[in-house]
């Protein structure tokens, strides 16, 4: 886990979302995740399962006969199944900044929706691992006094992550409430 350099904070875009939050009285304005996360996850899938598929195809075929190459169907199936699954999962992730709370919705089969009031935030964390950084991604993690609050937005554009962090801390300060 590595931190995002401060230099990313240069070009902060706030216009559109601010407007969205203003008129978010009824239906919240949802924001999806940038495509970089999907690209990264798919690449990781191929990087892991591709060589395994080739290995399970070649090794048994070479040692025991060509029929045994059928073993490769398992990782290949996983790969072919995982590709669209990652897409569905990625599409399911979205968040909305409302006037007083942050909404995070995610999951396809196991759906989960979290509402965290700004005043309850104790800590906002921006993290970015080496792979994430290579793809220009960063995650925003929110902590409240309850450990069960599991509010994390992965794979954001670093500038957006910084903007979100600053906005959340600012709103958290304005609406601060104790335990």
């Amino acid at each position: 886990m590595h931190t995002v350099c401060r230099t990313y904070a240069g070009g902060m875009e706030t216009g559109t979302l601010e407007d969205g939050a203003e008129r978010a009285e009824g239906e919240p304005v949802w924001t999806g995740l940038p495509p970089g996360l999907l690209r990264m996850r798919r690449l990781l899938l191929v990087v892991w399962l591709g060589p395994i598929t080739v290995g399970t195809a070649l090794l048994p075929a070479w040692l025991a006969g060509p029929v045994w190459a059928a073993f490769a169907l398992l990782p290949l199936g996983l790969l072919l199944w995982g590709w669209p699954m990652l897409g569905r999962n990625w599409r399911s992730w979205r968040y909305a900044e409302r006037a007083d709370d942050l909404l995070i919705s995610r999951g396809v089969l196991w759906r989960e929706e979290t509402v965290v009031p700004y005043g309850r935030m104790q800590l906002v964390e921006v993290t970015s691992g080496p792979v994430e950084r290579h793809f220009g991604l960063a995650s925003v993690q929110l902590h409240t006094a309850a450990a069960a609050t599991d509010a994390c937005i992965p794979g954001l554009d670093p500038a957006e992550a910084e903007r979100l962090r600053d906005r959340l801390t600012q709103l958290g300060e304005a609406r601060s409430a104790g335990l």
Binding site: M1, H2, T3, C5, D100, D101, L109, W110, R111, E112, E113, T114, V115, V116, P117, G119, R120, M121, Q122, L123, V124, E125, V126, T127, T144, A145, A146, A147, A148, T149, D150, A151, R165, L168, T169, G172, E173, S176, A177, G178, L179
Partner: protein
């Protein structure tokens, strides 16, 4: 670039307790050469660590801009404290003897009077010196905004505990301490640990200190804080010993452990006929049985709940007495537990969750109406919803959780979110809207197929209350409405300093 940077340095005033640890230099070790009570002039300084040199014993942590010179009175613990450490070498010896009985016996036979005397002559002063030094280097002071505890001879540790963040104050008097006339004072703040208790203080001193800490935490001016004294308490409830015994008799766990403690060793005796196996299994089982019956009776004996302007008072114990004070507005959740066998008598147990506190029992046993009146005092404006107000999940929930779904229920009022679960042991959790930290909705594939969803409400005491198997549309509406209610509920919540 190593490790996650916690990026919310300016987010929320979340610091409840700060500790400063540092190795003490020779000069610092000499800092505490004054008498048992030192008056120290602490000037506001940049760093939080104590300066060195005689007299500069206190830590200047207050924000600059207040009065330039603050008088901080440092105290030591009661002189009987070193004796508390005296059992440590004895425990080490006993541990060694149990671990290696043959070796211990051989060594014992080899002992003669001279070696014994020499051993004692070394051991006792060493233990005494250790006890004395830990006592000598432990100081505490109460300032306008915090309690500071300084400990440590080689590794200095200074804990700053913010008074307005106090979640509860406990004064405990274990049996031996009662005989010696001393007491232990513990402050519960989110993040404090066992080291942050003041053990031991004179009984009168502990009471006065508790009153002063509460007065300062409540927002009384520092000059008047120690004259305010103990706030008058009004008794709300006292559990009679007979009812307590009856409630323990009617508890399944008591009988379960007792039966296990009798049956398991008997069966083992008939199958193996080995005394050691029987003892090895029988003794822990007997211990568990004793803890769940006699132990609970001793701990919950003379349970008294009182109310004072400083909050809730809970006094209990037969041998070890403890007095807990929970300031107003600190209770995060209240749980009404109704075991099967108590239901005919209409008895309930009430548990509460306070952030950072390990105490969780409010009433061990009481008739339902009495318990509800106490809950109304603990959570002002809250009435416990009765069985008819609790709405069950839709009937199709039986495909998700057969039979037990009938135990689930939900009631939401203006002030409280109440969820019940359990069929035999019914538990009703109450969360005031103002205490909700976050709201979550979750739905797995099977629940989605059945059109059901769970709603979780997280509170600051690391306790999650779940309304299970609600209709999906109802759950979505509940999520939205609960976020709104929690927002408005927080506006009306009481301030941390309840008298200010």
């Amino acid at each position: 670039m190593t490790g996650p940077t916690r990026d919310a340095d300016d987010a929320v005033g979340a610091v409840e307790a700060v500790e400063v640890i540092g190795a003490a230099g020779a000069a610092e070790a000499g800092a505490a050469e004054a008498g048992a009570t030192e008056v120290v002039r602490a000037e506001p300084a940049e760093g939080a660590q104590a300066g060195s040199g005689p007299g500069a014993g206190a830590v200047a942590g207050d924000a600059p801009g207040e009065k330039p010179v603050v008088e901080v009175v440092e105290h030591r613990l009661h002189p009987v404290t070193p004796l508390r450490r005296a059992w440590a070498p004895v425990a080490v010896l006993i541990g060694w003897a149990v671990h290696d009985p043959d070796g211990a016996q051989r060594q014992l036979t080899r002992l003669d009077t001279t070696t014994l005397l020499i051993g004692l002559a070394v051991l006792i002063p060493a233990a005494a010196l250790y006890g004395f030094l830990t006592w000598w280097f432990t100081h505490f002071a109460v300032t306008d905004s915090e309690l500071r505890i300084r400990t440590g001879l080689l590794f200095r540790r200074t804990a700053h505990i913010r008074l307005e963040r106090i979640q509860a104050i406990d004064v405990n008097r274990p049996l031996l301490a009662r005989i010696a006339g001393v007491a232990k004072l513990k402050l519960d703040v989110v993040g404090t640990d066992k080291k942050d208790e003041l053990a031991y203080l004179g009984e009168a001193h502990a009471g006065a200190l508790r009153a002063e800490l509460l007065a300062r935490a409540a927002g009384f001016a520092p000059e008047t804080a120690h004259e305010v004294g103990e706030a008058p308490a009004r008794q709300l409830l006292k559990v009679p010993a007979g009812v307590l015994v009856m409630s323990l008799v009617l508890t399944g766990a008591t009988w379960g452990t007792l039966v296990a403690a009798v049956v398991v060793p008997a069966v083992l005796w008939f199958t193996t006929e080995s005394v050691w196996t029987v003892l090895a299994t029988g003794l822990p089982l007997l211990g568990a049985a004793g803890a769940s019956s006699v132990g609970r009776f001793v701990a919950e004996y003379d349970w008294t709940v009182g109310e004072s302007p400083d909050g809730l008072r809970i006094d209990h114990g037969l041998l070890d007495r403890s007095h807990e004070t929970v300031p107003p507005g600190r209770v995060q959740t209240v749980r009404v537990v109704e075991p099967l066998l108590w239901r005919r008598r209409g008895w309930v147990r009430v548990e509460l969750d306070v952030a950072g506190s390990s105490n969780s029992l409010l009433i061990p046993v009481a008739p339902r109406e009495v318990a509800e009146s106490v809950i109304a005092r603990v959570l002002p404006g809250v009435s416990v919803p009765d069985a008819t107000a609790l709405v069950r999940p839709p009937r199709r929930a039986r495909w998700c959780v057969p039979l037990w779904w009938r135990g689930y229920g939900l009631a939401v009022s203006d002030t409280v979110f109440a969820a019940r679960n359990g069929l035999l042991l019914r538990r009703l959790d109450l969360v005031p809207h103002a205490k909700v930290q976050s709201v979550r909705l979750s739905q797995g594939p099977w629940k989605r197929y059945k059109g059901l969803a769970d709603v979780h409400v997280d509170t600051g005491a690391n306790k999650t209350v779940t309304a299970r198997l609600r209709d999906a549309a109802e759950a979505a509406e509940l999520l939205r409405a609960q976020a709104e209610r929690s927002r408005t509920g927080r506006r009306e919540a009481r301030p941390d300093r309840w008298m200010a």
